[in-house]
Symmetry: D2
């Protein structure tokens, strides 16, 4: 069905929805045909900019619209599962904004629904489609950095405080999805320390740490309370080191030929290598565009989702573990709960899929 234009319905026209609509408007092979939102003002704004798009306050209108092949869900996290299940039940392909769900059970249910419906499920981990992130992944894949020692990320700025979830769920999906994508492994343990300053029980500052089977650790400072915007991630490898700074207008990825050459405690000698710094050219295509094109490719059967249901669930699992750690004063908690089996697999087997 790759020659047909995919009709897309977007649910949620608040903060991020309009970006999806705009990106889809420029995506070959896709067309936004309908937008649903509870707020008529938002729908009016959409209509003004895209007069040909049908708008509705009732998302079920969109679900039953035969011109809608795929649904993009850009609504509050707590609604993701219900809306995704409805969409799969109606035979639609589904794109869910990050994070996939507010807990692993919901994420599993969404994955299950997509498997039963045999429809594409993709999660909006936009950074996985960021050419700079891809560049670093290439460096890792090709062994340029050697074995990864650790990853350290700073993702901080002033606001925007959310009311229903903390900064771990707001900014965390970015770093977790990037780090899991880069390392290609799931963590063993998760640790999360944080504090709620402005609103009770809604942490606005957290420090998240993950330990991996390879020995690598990853650390992220996430904050809504910071004087200036930082988006800086360092990958320290045994051979080279890379810095990815998303706030820079140019040279967003730098590779440092730096490392430890030799340490000899016998001779009390330490020698370091400090060579050239290289900044590879990064293509300037907008990540959201690349993500939407990939969604179309997946629906058309030309690709498998880079950020599919499994990837989305892994991120939720880290965040859920992070919450357990936060609630127990920052204790180190296992990524997988002892004795828990991956329910989706069991269920899939039981239904004979």
């Amino acid at each position: 069905m790759s020659d047909r234009t995919i009709g897309v319905g977007v649910i949620g026209a608040g903060y991020w929805g309009p970006n999806i609509i705009r990106a889809l408007a420029e995506t070959p092979g896709a067309q936004v045909v309908a937008v649903a939102d509870l707020d008529p003002k938002r729908l009016a704004t959409v209509s003004k900019r895209f007069p040909a798009v049908r708008t509705t306050q009732d998302h079920r209108t969109l679900m039953s619209d035969h011109a809608v092949d795929a649904v993009c869900i850009a609504t509050p996290i707590s609604t993701h599962r219900r809306l995704a299940e409805e969409a799969f039940a109606a035979g639609k392909h589904v794109f869910v904004e990050k994070p996939l769900a507010g807990n692993v059970a919901d994420a599993d249910a969404i994955v299950r629904a997509s498997e039963i419906a045999a429809r594409t499920l993709m999660v909006g981990h936009t950074f996985v489609y960021n050419p700079a992130v891809e560049t670093v992944r290439g460096l890792l894949r090709h062994g340029v950095l050697g074995e990864v020692f650790y990853v350290d990320s700073q993702r901080v700025n002033l606001g925007i405080h959310q009311f229903d979830f903390n900064v771990l769920w707001d900014l965390g999906p970015h770093d977790v999805s990037i780090i899991l994508y880069w390392l290609g492994e799931e963590p063993i343990w998760v640790q999360c320390v944080g504090q709620a300053y402005v609103q009770p029980n809604i942490e606005d500052v957290v420090f998240l740490t993950m330990g991996f089977p390879s020995g690598a650790i990853a650390h992220a400072h996430l904050s809504w309370l910071a004087p200036s915007k930082l988006r800086r991630t360092v990958v320290v490898g045994s051979r080279k080191m890379a810095v990815y700074d998303d706030t820079l207008p140019a040279e967003r990825v730098k590779v440092y030929d730096r490392g430890v050459e030799a340490i000899s405690i016998e001779e009390l000698r330490r020698s370091y290598r400090a060579g050239d710094v290289h900044s590879p050219r990064i293509p300037e295509t907008e990540p959201l565009q690349l993500e939407m094109r990939h969604f179309v490719d997946c629906i058309n059967g030309d690709a498998l989702p880079l950020s599919g249901g499994e990837a989305g669930t892994r991120v939720v699992r880290v965040l859920e573990a992070g919450m357990r750690s936060l609630r127990t004063g920052g204790a180190r908690v296992p990524y997988r709960i002892e004795g828990a089996r991956r329910p989706e697999l069991v269920t899939l087997a039981s239904i004979g899929a």
Copy 2:
């Protein structure tokens, strides 16, 4: 005795000792009269630059030298206690390089010895004498930043790996001494996650977190494995935020008039303040010079040590707690061990001081 020139003996002429010698050479009211080191080559270098200074391979020569009023100890940590005790026993004033000792028991013993000898004990927490650090402290003192929410510090670079202690003990004293000085309170708990990559059991990367009675938390990333040198500390307060970046040639302290104005969950409203940025002028005097002058003032009875035995012990206590946390997989541990009494106070009482 303030008119007399203080004769100083320096033990240890390795990495840091020569800096102390140079700084003392320019300190009014002080004069380096003797230097001890086991390595004759180092002594030869000292002699070449300072021909008038007596050198010896036996530190006891220096301890019994009547021209020596004060001793500066710049030797490996494990020797601090023994040398300090000898110096106090010989009636000398003592300056000990940071950290004061490798454990609280040793630190306490040194403090006790200074009290018994009634001689000045000062610890080389040079950053406490850094005009930029003092500027931030002034902002905190005068309420410019409001209540402190959190402090986040990055102190990372490539090397220099130590052989006998980890990066927590090497770089940690700087951040811990700065943070305790700024906040004016001792932590309740300490948490430390780290990894040893290059040498077994010698962590080269750690993330240290401290929780304080006021509700503030402080976090520091310390690393010998980083592509570029970072010395950046952020203080987020309820009224303003400050950044202290020690790598910059100018504008090392910036005060951001940024904050949260109002968050109303009822009206789903959030408003932020983003005002001017101000960078106060920082005097350019070298911190080490100021530290040495302060040491002389303390010996002369004109001041009390800003980084005395108590302050030095508090830093060691944090590091020791950090080690306990590290060894238990990053668990949150109390700053003070339950039931432990401050031995120095007991002892002081018992000796009737």
Copy 3:
């Protein structure tokens, strides 16, 4: 007539025209009613995004459109005079993209036409509406910087090479309009050195210098051949100094409390002041939006153009002088040609305006 919505026609939908259309779409009191361009593809793009706008390949259709009260001209420089004269003849208000014209004679003619038609003429010197530029002007107005010694500007990047005029006419209007606005005076002399590397006779690198009656000099480096984009302007005053860097995401204007305190050749003494650095908050409104709102205000009689015909002519006069200097090997040339009188004034008198 201030309550009526101004109908605007835009001529030229190439590089800059679409930006004007978009900005006008969000300007209260204005509405784009028609767009003219020779290229039907560009018109199709406009129609797709703004279906209600009439499009035409013949600009005369737009000129005779009664719904069109004002015309925005975003066409090649050589067409500015003819189109502006037609528009004024049709009784329209006119906005002309910078530079106003390719020579002073044409600029004068346009100003004359606007005066005869008694219609608003405004030139697209967008930077004059930039809040950062306004902030620096405020510093100058209120004497914060003292007397201006000199202004130095770097406006360089790679490309975009123009085919019909050089970098002086492409990037120069920005700096010249900013500097004349700040200093509030016209230069006495102009000097311009340059070289054409990529295309014969089309200078891609020039250094422009202007001397002012106050003694101030202004210098600008303009280039299409540079490794990275620079937009940095320094204003050195007798009391303070300011830097305006338009490439920064924040702190785009910095005021340095730096200067010379005293220089005494008798005592061979020099003393400098190096105080605080202050970065005032800059409103984030888009300059183009502010410019379009100002155009509407001017048409409605609520304001006089900040970048009117006179201001636009002054910029052209500097560029024309710069060309004379360039063609004579960088000689210093007078801003006003000896004996030349301002023709528009003469003409205005003769027509009894």
Copy 4:
């Protein structure tokens, strides 16, 4: 005579002299044996740090000192010629601080004296020994940058105002010596615009431009009146571009793979290349050390001065031309005065050297 230690006498212990003394103290094969200065306080300071060095207020003592093989002249410019001539007459090798002299006639005389005495003459163009400058020269030599289009340099800071010469003579020697070294050619013309703000007739801000036979132009902004220190030089070549920023703690040289691919006026097409950015590792040896070692090598006959009398004279010739241009309102003046012959060559021929 390469095995013998060179005895060096230093004349002038003001601002720069002590740096030379310190550098020589660490130079193998050289030893400072005597220092002359009119000011006894300065001599006392030298004695304190270097007790073995003989000091004198009469430079003739040093000239007649048989232990002195070479003389370093770090005195005011106006004294260079007389002192150098005396030193050569006494059979010494001579190092003269930059600029070699205050006019070409004096520079020529010094060169002549060195030739007659057959002794080494070296000029203190320290930047020519800077590893970053050498790195850029390597890029040029090996064609990495292609043909040089232009060089643009910013060398500005606040102070230090000189009393007897302007900023062109103070900061200009650095850029001129670097640029002539890089380009390997002498300019055809020189142009210089400037202004004296703080002291009458002593320009504190100048813009210097040079045109070269190859078509390259070079431009330098030199200023004692600037809010922050800039040391940034851009080299734009036909193949790549390089930036040398001496204020950075790392990555002081960056090579940008950027350029114009094709410009076709027929097809109205322009295409640019924006590839990787590379920052080669720069050795961290101090330039002054390298310079002093080179001076020793030259005296020992192991090398020819990289910054010898000819190179020093070329710099003076540019500065002298710059002064002519400044005094005539920034007119373009020839580098070589019409009809002037290089006197030193004539003289050399006449003496049969």
